[in-house]
Amino acid sequence: MQIDWREYACGDFYDELISSPGNPRKAARHLANYLASLNSDELQERKLSAELAIKTMGITFTVYSDAGNIDRDWPFDIIPRVISQKEWEKTERGLIQRLTALNCFIDDIYNDRKIIKDGVFPEELLADSKNFRSECVGMKPALGVWAHVCGTDLIRDHKGQFFVLEDNLRVPSGVSYMLENRKVTKRVLPELFENHAILPVTEYPNQLFDTLAAISPRPLDFPEVVVLTPGIYNSAYFEHSYLAQQMGVELVEGCDLVVEDDTVYMRTINGLARVDVIYRRIDDLFLDPEMFNPDSVLGVPGLMRAWLKGNVALANAPGAGVADDKLVYTYVPKMIKYYLDEDPILPNVPSYLCNDKKDRDYVLANLDKLVVKPANESGGYGMLMGPQASKKEREAFAQKIKANPRNYMAQPLMALSTSPVVTSRNAEPRHIDLRPFILQGREHHVTPGGLTRVAMTKGSYVVNSSQGGGSKDTWVVVEGDK
């Protein structure tokens, strides 16, 4: 069976490719027509060759619970998600605005705390924030930037409006999959690149390197930049290795580094070599057993001393996660106003804070309509999907909220937009989100598009790869013929 867009059921959701049955959106017209021209065999053949390419290229991710099975192939759908460049430009400005304000906030929180003194941000939220690091108070990292790499999750509601779901400021992952998705699409649907002007994504590794090099404590033309990974058993190891390779820098593990005289060195075949910038993909608490978790074998003893003395740069800076908190998130629109005196370009999803009595009462009364999230978890762990949960699950969750209200916030279940995926028969809509990556060093860079994650199960809203989600290539398309 061929794809017939007239039979494509968009439902009540905003579909990224098809505005109503039979009518592709302008930016996606070529793509939709091309897909409809393929017969069923051709379509399945492309699907298979994508799977094969992913196997060959070794694009994998690890699921924590899969003991013994090191990696799984990356689930991928071949139909790209298309965004018009005009629309993207505005989104891009919104993302830069947001990260700029977040960095002002983090720097302020660890130094002058003006935002608290001016009564815009309540101090008590900080007091029990899991990701606030008192060790970092008074630190002034280069350029005043704490979060150099940010992955911001965006969703669209039923009208097609982008909303920010969350900002990932600790060790956001997924960018390598964004890059690899494009490669896979080029392998399996090369014809499509003839008729579309698609913004390339390949600049990211260079931009990341420039961002990292800009914060080197030594004024060198070629600072020694390294990627610090927890090792091969980490779910994002593929990405760590990929980024190191693409930037042409060393991929190091904790055991490769040593701190002497508050300076970081790596052990090489020539002896010790000084390290200037560490793009660390290890959580704060495992960075340095001297200062944080003493049992950590992933980190480097003395690393924090070297950083605090300014002898090495860490990206993202320890403590940057203070703004990666679902309660702090709700204050971002106010931060933008406070620090930049601008109106937010990208809205937040309406949120209810459980430590606020009024909000909490609303949440407890409406658990069946809300999504409740713990303030400091990522990867979709520990949350309640109200509308899909059983009564018993909701009651149990209500107890958790009452016991520790600071730890929870709730949002209405947003009608996530959809995009078509190839099924065994034709194409059907599935829910998606979008994670663009934003860099801040001397200048800002935003990936054109980002990583589109797909809930592969019909009707499902869960897009996390650790919970059965897949992904798609994401195109920002310059409208008009190429």
């Binding site: 060959t56 290229m57 058993y233 055991c255 490769d256 090489t268 075949i269």
Partner: protein, 320 residues
């Protein structure tokens, strides 16, 4: 380059070479079998001796083991650390860890080879399919070697791969010579005069297991015989799989690395012992002891390399 990476990439070189050697060994034995008349039993067990994996073989006496059992043990037994499946798997894991160092196509090649072999290995006990799988292994590894030669900067990482490869190669050739002179022959039942006509075939198969037959013929005009074959495989300076040549390569790569004195001293020592050996005398008496000694010295070269350039301890790091 990082010490940890040097170690991983060195082992990748070794495991790739070992995989190719395993494939060659099984392949050659399969061919040899077809050239011998009925009634003369080829010792499949000798493959186990050559690869030094006897202690992992738990299906009784290696000398009595039949083709299916030995082939399965050599190719796909997960408990045999040197089985083809395991060596390829280790090569792949080391390549995965050093993926940012070798060209992308190199990783794809190893990854694909492993997946293909894993999927086909159970079928490969049958001779026909086996031949094809082993051929794929050998050509893919040759392709990998060529890919690196042509697409990878000839930097320290490349040197460590070649060091691993040549050390493994020297080690394997000593094992094959050992097996040829001591293990292979007695496994043929029968008296001297029964054996005599096939002596030639046997030594040819030893040469073939190292792809050395053609080069040997060009080099040695005389008919195939023990003395010339052993001399060629140990002492020839030009044939890539001869022990002397492999060690010479090793020496030249080590010289390019920093602080290489200890490792160089070790390797020049073995190389001198190989070049000055009196082969006719050793064939009469003491070849086995001599080769045992060589293998210990080769192991010592490895120890010197590890002590000079690798991490003092490599803790196995588990993430949270």
């Amino acid at each position: 380059m990082l010490s940890r990476v040097a170690e991983r990439i060195y082992w990748m070189g070794r495991y790739m070479e070992r995989s190719e050697n395993m494939a060659r060994l099984v392949n050659v034995n399969s061919h040899l079998l077809m050239d011998l008349p009925k009634g003369i039993r080829v010792g499949w067990g000798s493959l186990i001796h050559i690869s030094g994996t006897g202690k992992y073989f738990n299906r009784g006496d290696t000398d009595q083991a039949d083709e299916r059992t030995v082939v399965r043990f050599m190719l796909s037994d997960r408990d045999n650390p040197s089985s083809l499946l395991n060596t390829l798997s280790w090569a792949r894991e080391n390549a995965r860890i050093t993926r940012e160092i070798i060209p992308m196509e190199g990783w794809e090649l190893i990854n694909n080879l492993y997946l293909e072999v894993k999927d086909n290995l159970s079928k490969s006990v049958a001779r026909r399919e086996r031949n094809r799988t082993l051929h794929t292994v050998i050509t893919s590894i040759q392709q990998f070697t060529g890919l690196l030669a042509g697409c990878m900067s000839h930097n320290s990482a490349y040197d460590f791969i070649r060091i691993g490869r040549n050390l493994e190669r020297a080690d394997m050739t000593t094992r094959i010579v050992d097996a040829g002179s001591a293990n292979l022959l007695p496994h043929l039942l029968g008296e001297e005069d029964v054996l005599e006509p096939y002596d030639n075939i046997l030594w040819m198969s030893v040469l073939r297991s190292l792809s050395a037959y053609q080069m040997y013929r060009q080099h040695v005009q005389d008919r195939v015989n023990a003395e010339d074959v052993v001399t060629f495989l140990l002492q020839d300076a030009l044939f890539p799989r001869a022990v002397s040549h492999s060690l010479g390569e090793l020496e030249s790569f080590l010289k390019k690395l920093p602080n290489s004195d200890e490792a160089l001293r070790a390797v020049t020592g073995v190389r001198r012992r190989v070049r000055t050996a009196n082969i006719p005398e050793l064939l009469q008496n003491g070849l086995q002891e001599y080769i045992d000694h060589l293998q210990l010295e080769i192991a010592d070269v490895h120890r010197q390399i590890a002590g000079t350039w690798f991490l003092p301890v490599t803790p196995l790091v588990e993430s949270e």
